[in-house]
């Protein structure tokens, strides 16, 4: 394993409260030293990080790589390159694959696919219920032992609250984190857009914010009842932020994230019928977006996730309600986070923490920091480098992003995962050509 010297970058490591220009030394796959040069250190790789930012590799709490089952949309090979090029060093995979991640065999298959893709730090999230059907508990303990980091029912709501209660109790017994995207199935009513002025004008079936807030309120009560550790993912509205704030104040063991695109887009952006903006939960109002940003700045929302959902072209080719929801979002994660910093919604330290330290804490992982002895997951990025979102600069198999064609600021130059350089911008051009 190589010895790496990351030279003279601005190191921002929120967990260790470091923000200074200096060096990072890596050996044996671990962080050897930050700033101080260790004795007898002869690097075989030197990364010149002058003028760039060096931070912990990003941890994504909600990703879909589509395999197994939907390799026409994306593969481990394509998406792990996309992740590496985005500075993401740890991925948590939602269980709604085909077959569902609800048996140890599928969890092991995921691990195998990850190894084969040369990107081992992939954690499957197991199904909370068998086949995500919301009727029987999954074998959570066996799944945990097979490497699953949490349990979730993905987009499927558990309609029966008694089953949800039992699932949370059982998960709590094995100290498993439960991840929930709160959504009341019935109130959601097969909608495809925020129930508001835009959906009304365009005759689009609406999803009221209450589909989220009511489900969230129910879950919070069950957290209180069961003592289960719950992380709420991809929140979309003002009153969800308020509910999380109150729950934390009350002392519940909960955490929450927001998908990066929810911090930038609103219902108005879907006009008229642009399926690249079709996501779940739907983009809501300016006020909701403002609260999500404030929630992130105040720490009510712990982290940002990519909510990466690559699609094939056909999935987005149709009348808006008939298209599949989701955005291919790994590669725009960093520039969109930096845009929040440029717009003074959050500080750069907060932005980096929300992608590294904070999700690591949610997962109870010893990652997301440049702590000596930790696995060396490092992202080096140039905050000022502009690039256009186009085929030449894109690695994901899914080009379903509303940012296609736009010029964004901030680009990853190097990604180190457990001491291996898994991405370098300089050499990536050659790969794109080959």
């Amino acid at each position: 394993m190589s010895q790496i010297h990351i030279k003279q970058g601005r190191i921002i490591d929120p967990a260790n409260k470091i923000n200074c220009v200096g060096n990072v030394y890596i050996a044996g796959g671990k962080v050897l030293s930050v700033t101080d040069q260790p004795a007898d250190f002869t690097p075989d790789t030197v990364i010149d990080a002058q003028g760039q930012i060096v931070c912990p590799g990003f941890i994504d709490l909600s990703t879909r790589l589509r395999e197994p089952g939907q390799s026409r949309k994306a593969t481990f090979k394509s998406e792990t390159i996309a992740a590496a090029s985005a500075g993401v060093t740890t991925l948590c995979l939602q269980p709604d694959t085909s077959p569902v991640i609800d048996t140890p065999a599928v969890a092991e298959l995921i691990k195998e696919l990850a190894e084969k893709a040369g990107y081992p730090q992939i954690y499957p999230i197991a199904g909370l219920t068998r086949k995500l059907e919301g009727t029987e508990l999954s074998s959570m303990l066996s799944l945990k032992q097979a490497g699953c980091i949490a349990v979730s029912n993905a987009h499927q709501s558990v309609k029966n609250l008694l089953i949800l209660r039992r699932a949370m109790e059982y998960a709590a017994s094995h100290d498993l984190l439960v991840m929930i995207r709160p959504n009341d199935y019935w109130l959601g009513n097969n909608g495809c857009a925020h129930e508001g002025a835009v959906a009304t004008r365009y005759g689009l079936p609406g999803i009221p914010e209450e589909a989220e807030t009511i489900a969230l309120a129910q879950c919070l009560e069950l957290v209180n009842l069961t003592g289960c550790r719950v992380h709420f993912g991809q929140l979309s509205c003002k009153r969800s932020v308020i509910k999380i704030y109150q729950a934390k104040k009350y002392g519940l063991k909960v955490s929450a994230d927001v998908a990066i695109h929810q911090l930038h887009l609103t219902e108005n952006d879907i006009i008229p019928f642009d399926s690249s903006y079709h996501v779940l939960p739907p983009f809501r109002t300016e006020v909701d977006m403002k609260y999500l940003r404030q929630g992130l700045a105040s720490g009510t929302l712990n982290s940002i996730c990519s909510d990466h959902q690559p699609h094939d072209i056909d999935a987005k080719l149709g009348a808006f309600p008939e298209t599949e929801p989701g955005i291919s979002s790994l590669e725009t994660l960093l520039p969109l986070m930096l845009k929040l910093v440029a717009q003074r919604a959050i500080t750069l330290e907060q932005g980096i923490a929300s992608l590294s330290e904070n999700p690591a804490r949610v997962l109870h992982l010893k990652r997301g920091a440049l702590t000596v002895g930790y696995a060396a997951d490092v992202c080096v990025f140039d905050p000022d480098l502009e690039w256009q979102v186009n085929a030449g600069n894109w690695n994901s198999q899914g080009i379903n992003t509303p940012f296609w064609g736009q010029t964004l600021k901030g680009r990853v130059t190097h990604t180190v995962q457990a001491g291996n350089v898994i991405y370098s911008l300089e050499t990536s051009g050659q790969r794109a050509l080959s």
Binding site: T200, Y202, G318, A319
Partner: protein
């Protein structure tokens, strides 16, 4: 927001997808051109050669008798070759995608698609993806828009009331699911109606309905006061099974238009309905067939409006 896709670089109508994005001048032009066609209905030879040599395909992904027939007649009176396809029972049920269906027909050198589809946004989608020389007319998409229906209603209103600026118009019934209502509201507001009022129980109104530019009432007896034009909407039977309403009879009791209730509106108020009507559900037969009803006039006017829109959309190709 402006629906630029509907207009060509000279601001002329290219596609007719929704009322939104079209200004008062353009809507008035549609009405005026329709006016010039209306006389033809009484002529011996009901044909003009404006679209001779053009091929128009009626693509009906959803069943409809009246709309399809009037579009077909309109195309024939403009001397176009017209083909009507009910896709609800053909290609798409074999798994062919919407786009494939369109591409196949494009390959047959079509000049215009008239599209009816059960999903909101379908007409926009086709307009965005079809070859640049082809015009698309929306004959109703999901709950979004039905602009030719709205325009024929405007035409009928203008015929009788002349001017929109003093008119108070009530739209009654299932606004939530109605593409007709959405287009009517936009057209009435663009043409400068004094007031558009929607009257329905909350279950049949979309959220933020006021943002469409309407006043809201949940009571027919007070809601009809001072109204010049009453537009009744059709109530689908499914609304009962999806818990939006308790029963047809209760609906009729509250929102059905009877002779007594009609008296609350202005004495010269007209009664309209996009059809097909449910007698005894949203409207009493005596009203539907009564002297204030202009329901059949609407149907006749449908041909002229559709001729006008087709002719205008083909203008860019040298017609008219």
């Amino acid at each position: 927001m402006i629906d630029n896709i509907q207009l060509n670089s000279e601001g002329k109508l290219k596609h007719f997808l929704s009322i939104e994005g079209l200004n008062k001048g353009l809507l008035t032009e549609i009405l005026d051109i329709a006016e010039s066609f209306i006389g033809m209905n009484d002529q011996q030879i009901k044909k003009v050669p404006l679209l001779r040599g053009k091929t128009i395909v009626n693509l009906f992904f959803e069943n409809s008798t009246r709309t399809r027939t009037t579009f077909e007649l309109a195309a024939k009176r403009l001397s176009a070759d017209v083909l009507s396809m009910s896709i609800a029972t053909s290609s798409t049920s074999k798994g062919e995608s919407l786009l494939d269906t369109i591409r196949n027909l494009e390959a047959m050198f079509v000049d215009m698609f008239v599209v009816r589809h059960a999903i909101s946004g379908a007409a926009h989608f086709i307009a965005q993806h079809t070859a640049p020389h082809i015009s698309v007319i929306n004959a109703g998409d999901g709950q979004h828009a039905h602009p030719t229906q709205a325009m024929l209603d405007m035409f009928t209103i203008r015929q009788i009331k002349q001017d929109f600026s003093n008119l108070r118009v009530a739209i009654i019934g299932d606004i939530l699911h109605s593409r007709v209502a959405r287009s009517q509201i936009q057209a009435l507001n663009t043409l400068g109606a004094a007031e558009v009022r929607v009257i329905a129980p909350k279950t049949l109104l979309p959220s933020h309905v006021e943002s469409l530019g309407v006043n809201v009432s949940h009571d027919l007896t007070t809601g009809l006061k001072d109204i010049d034009v009453i537009i009744m909407l059709r109530l689908q039977k499914e609304r009962m099974t999806s818990a939006l309403l308790p029963s047809e009879s209760e609906y009729f009791k509250c929102f059905g238009l009877t002779e007594d209730k009609l008296k609350i509106a202005k004495p010269d108020a007209i009664v309209m309905h996009p059809g097909p009507i449910n007698r005894g559900v949203e409207i009493d037969s005596k009203v539907a067939d009564g002297p204030q009803s202009v329901i059949l006039k609407q149907v006749s006017n449908g041909i002229a409006i559709r001729m006008a829109v087709m002719a205008m959309a083909m203008q860019k190709q040298g017609a008219v």
